[in-house]
């Protein structure tokens, strides 16, 4: 209501001003520069554009003569400053400029700046301009504004100033810069031609005027204002025709309808107020109250809406700012209600500028052509946007919908915009996209074959690695059957692979892991270790199979080689085992044979011994009887010969005994028989046995047995045999003199020596003494009897006892044999 009243007052003044206009003809110098479609030089060289249409229309009506001075934007401004021209078109109002120039009141055009980029570039929002080269018009409002804007976002971009828009768009189109900032009019007209497109970076809404030299041209400017007011009232005026012509912007066509209605209403109100202000005022009051009621009702509805929602009237004044809006932005409704001039944009974008709700009036084709982020459905428009300042400065992605509002008569009465914070969904989407990307990367780049196939064996997917591995392209393989491509009918081991695919589907667990042979496009056979995962549909039927495979051909070859070597090794081992078994049985047989031979030998020896002794018993026995004269007297010759028989038989007997002993010893059969006995008695008895023999040769036997020689544990028979042997030898090899036997026990060791005064032994013969069948002076000329077995038997027996035998001798003087043996049984024996 206030707005309407204000407008009425304004109209009133305007009418008055127009009436009092000075109609003097005069020359007006107008600066022009190239900024189509606002002001530019057309192809025929004539000044052209919206501002030119306006000023020429005014000049025609006022009878002005217009002179155009061409130049760049900067030159134009300089000329205006110096007073060389009267008017410069297309000048945005700023406080700084007002100090230098003068402006009329009614804007000739409203515009804002927008960032244009090459089609398909990734620049979408202001933040994407980081480190980019951005072109601006030299000394323009946008230069300062964008510098301010980029500072606010902490952007680090390069701002390059160029003298005109065409050069800027060309530069971006060439790729020498990333973005250009132009006004929307220029952008609408030229972007497509240069292959550029708009972005959501829209800023610094500004009203454009004709500027005049400071302080000189009040009348001129007032005249322009009065004409503009009229032009804007009439939808058919040159003003709208010009806009339509240059921008195809039908928005402006609707705007005048609104103006027309308002103007009409204003005229009526004016009429009524002139005729009868009181009646009118009452009617107005009643209407106001009614409106307030309705408004209150609708405000409550708006307040209730869960999405941040605000409503503006036709004058873009905020008439509702709901609680959700307050929550989202932190700005209270008290601070915004009744504010205009894009105040609603500030809580979201930190600046007062046109936002989605301001695009409602733009025709659909134009929105589609210039704002690719804006969707339109009926008369609603939707857009996605990003606000860096929401969510405590973390920024928020917004989903915005704006719609015009109509009154009961179907007339436009304002607009509504709802904003929803979709940051969470956006982040989730982002995360999903990222995860999808990673998955795709893994699948594409994995060094494994990744294969998807249908239960009927058709290849649905194979990753890049797999395709390269098998040597196919995607188009060659996808949609083909596994059997006809990478799976041979049977592998080289003869395994039939035809039922494999069916098996994997019907027994997923068993075929979760399967190694089989595959075939490359070039026919090469490879071994693949497959991991198969069968994906089931809701009915539990196999829907798709995911198989991941690794090439194990080399490994397989190595395994086969190892297996082959193992087989060879095993064959070899078996051969060896067989050989060993053969040899073992051969040895066993030989052993048995040997044992058998041994048994036979032992039996033979036993029999021999027995059978030889029996006749010897008679020979020795009867010879003894005869020699004892038990069978009657003997003459000397008989005695002598019988004695010879006796000696011969005794020698034969000792020979038999020695042979038996040595055989037993060599066969390891000689066993010792330990028992406790009196060594002293053994020595004395043996001496007693030998004494008659010695006395016959007139040899004396002396004995010296130490007092400690008593009972010992040893093989008595063998000890006596050894002593007898030594004494026998001593008697045998001694012609005259004495035999001396001594014995003592020291530290459990018996020392027994037999010394004689016999022939003695050569030193070099001593070593041979103890070898079997060795008798010194052997040969046919030997002087003494004996087999030569005695000493070797003594030595062997003493060795078995753990004892020893040694000899000291001197030729012609005699010998001393010494034996040593333990007097107690040793454990080791």
């Amino acid at each position: 209501m206030q707005f309407i009243i204000l407008f009425i007052v304004q109209l009133f003044f305007l009418c008055f001003n127009i009436l009092s206009l000075n109609a003097d003809e005069r020359t007006v110098k107008v600066g022009i520069y190239e900024n189509a479609p606002k002001v530019f030089t057309d192809e025929s060289g004539r000044p052209s554009g919206i501002f030119i249409d306006i000023i020429e229309n005014i000049a025609k009506n006022e009878g002005w003569h217009l002179t155009y001075i061409r130049g760049t934007w900067v030159e134009g401004l300089d000329r205006l400053t110096k007073g060389e021209i009267d008017l410069m078109p297309d000048v945005a109002y700023t406080a700084d400029r007002e100090r230098i120039y003068s402006f009329h009141k009614i804007p000739a055009l409203s515009s804002w700046y927008q960032v244009y980029v090459p089609r398909g570039s990734n620049i979408r929002s202001i933040l994407d301009l980081e480190k980019k080269r951005i072109l601006v018009l030299e000394r323009s409002v946008q230069e300062a504004a964008f510098t301010r804007l980029s500072k606010g976002f902490g952007l680090n971009s390069t701002i390059i100033s160029l003298p005109d828009y065409d050069t800027m768009f060309e530069t971006v189109a060439r790729g020498d810069a990333d973005a250009a900032i132009t006004n929307r009019f220029y952008g609408i007209m030229h972007a497509e031609k240069f292959g550029l497109e708009d972005t959501t970076v829209v800023f610094e809404p500004s009203d454009l005027f004709f500027a005049a030299t400071q302080g000189k041209s009040k009348l001129l400017l007032d005249t322009i204002d009065s004409h503009l007011a009229n032009l804007k009232k009439d939808s058919q005026s040159i003003y709208y025709k010009s806009l339509k012509k240059w921008t195809s912007e039908e928005v402006r066509f609707k705007f005048p309808v609104w103006l027309k209605i308002l103007g009409l209403s204003a005229a009526i109100v004016l009429l009524i107020s002139i005729i009868g202000s009181i009646v009118l005022k009452r009617q107005v009051n009643a209407r106001t109250i009614e409106l307030q009621k309705t408004q209150k009702f609708f405000m409550n509805i708006v307040e209730f809406l869960p999405d941040a929602t605000f409503v503006i009237d036709q004058d873009k004044k905020i008439i509702a700012w709901n609680q959700a809006c307050e929550l989202m932005t932190g700005v209270k409704k008290e601070a915004l209600l009744d504010q205009s001039n894009y105040a609603y944009a500030e809580p979201f974008f930190n600046e007062k500028r046109p936002i989605l709700i301001d695009l409602i009036n733009m025709p659909a084709p134009e929105i589609e052509a210039t704002y690719k982020y804006v969707q339109r459905k009926d008369n609603r428009i939707y857009a996605e946007s990003f606000s860096p300042q929401l969510r405590g400065g973390k920024g928020a992605y917004l989903w915005i919908v704006a719609s015009p509002l109509f009154d009961q008569d179907g007339k436009r009465c304002g607009a509504i915009e709802s904003i929803r914070d979709v940051t969470e969904q956006k982040l989730i989407e982002e995360a999903l996209r990222e995860s999808e990307r990673k998955y795709r990367e893994v699948v594409t780049l994995a060094n494994s074959i990744i294969l998807r196939w249908s239960p009927d064996g058709e290849i649905l997917f194979m990753n890049k690695f797999g395709l390269e591995f098998f040597g196919y392209t995607g188009t060659e393989l996808l949609g083909q059957k596994l059997m006809e491509t990478i799976v041979p009918e049977s592998d080289s081991t003869g395994r039939d692979l035809r039922p494999l695919m069916g098996n994997i589907c019907s027994e997923p667990e068993r075929f979760k892991r399967n190694v089989n042979e595959n075939i490359k496009k070039n026919g090469e056979h490879v071994w693949i270790d497959w991991a198969n995962k069968v994906l089931l549909d809701e009915q539990g039927q196999a829907e798709e199979i995911l198989s991941i495979g690794s090439d194990i051909t080399e490994q397989k070859k190595a395994d086969d080689k190892i297996r082959q070597l193992n087989n060879e090794l095993q064959r070899h081992a078996e051969f060896l085992e067989q050989r060993v078994a053969e040899r073992t049985s051969e040895l066993a047989a030989a052993m048995e044979k040997a044992q058998e031979a041994d048994r036979i030998k032992s039996a033979f020896l036993a029999t021999m011994s027995h059978e030889l002794r029996t006749p010897l018993n008679s020979i020795i026995g009867f010879t003894g009887i005869l020699l004892q004269r038990l069978a009657g007297p003997l003459n000397n010759e008989q005695d002598k010969q019988l004695t010879m028989i006796q000696n011969s038989s005794r020698h034969l007997l000792s020979l038999i005994n020695d042979v038996l002993d040595i055989s037993k010893i060599e066969a390891g059969q000689l066993e010792l028989s330990y028992q406790s006995f009196s060594l002293r008695s053994s020595i004395e008895n043996t001496v007693k046995l030998i004494r008659p023999l010695a006395e016959k040769k007139n040899i004396g036997i002396w004995q010296e047995i130490s007092g400690n020689v008593e009972n010992i544990t040893a093989d008595q028979r063998r000890i006596e045999q050894i002593i007898l042997n030594l004494l026998n030898n001593a008697v045998k090899f001694t012609k005259k003199g004495e035999i001396f036997i001594s014995c003592n026990i020291e530290n459990g060791l018996c020392h027994l020596s037999v010394s004689d005064t016999g022939i003695g032994i050569e030193q070099e013969d001593i070593q041979k003494l103890f070898q079997p069948f060795h008798q010194i002076d052997s040969g046919t000329s030997r002087k003494t009897e004996g087999t030569g077995l005695g000493l070797s038997i003594c030595k062997k027996v003493l060795d078995l006892m753990g004892g020893s035998i040694s000899v000291r001798s001197k030729i012609g003087e005699g010998s001393t044999f010494t034996i040593k043996f333990p007097t107690a049984m040793e454990d080791t024996l």
């Binding site: 027995h610 002794r613 018993n617 038990l630 069978a631 007997l653 059969q669």
Partner: protein, 129 residues
């Protein structure tokens, strides 16, 4: 007291040799040519000692010794093995089978009777005391 000595020996010459030596020293010799007869004669005569050959026909000396030991009435009569079995272990095996003494063939005719007498002289001496 009997003066009998029983000789169980199948070799005629060996038997003659021992009988000659023993009878010269005043013993009465009863001879048996096999083990069974030897056992019967031992039981019949209860000799001073039994001289036993080991290799005998049918029943060998080991079996004869074992049988003799079974008879209580023969307790205390020494069994003296006189044998050509002179291999390792023969002596021990024969003594283990129950023989009191062991004389290896060929016998020494000079000492044979003395050797024999030491087995039963001691017994006689025991009895006299």
């Amino acid at each position: 007291m009997s003066n009998d000595l029983l000789i169980i020996e199948d070799n005629e010459q060996n038997l003659y040799l021992m009988r000659f030596l023993l009878e010269k020293k005043g013993f009465t010799v009863i001879a048996a040519e096999n083990g069974r007869a030897g056992i019967d004669k031992a039981l019949e005569h209860k000799p001073l000692a039994i001289l036993l050959d080991i290799q005998l026909p049918e029943m060998d000396g080991y079996a004869v010794a074992a049988e003799l030991l079974k008879h209580k009435e023969l307790e205390g009569i020494p069994i003296i093995a006189v044998t050509s079995y002179a291999m390792v272990g023969d002596r021990e095996r024969i003594l283990a089978a129950g023989a009191t003494g062991y004389i290896e063939k060929p016998i020494n005719p000079d000492t044979f009777v003395t050797e024999i007498k030491q087995y039963f002289r001691e017994n006689t001496a025991d009895r006299e005391e």
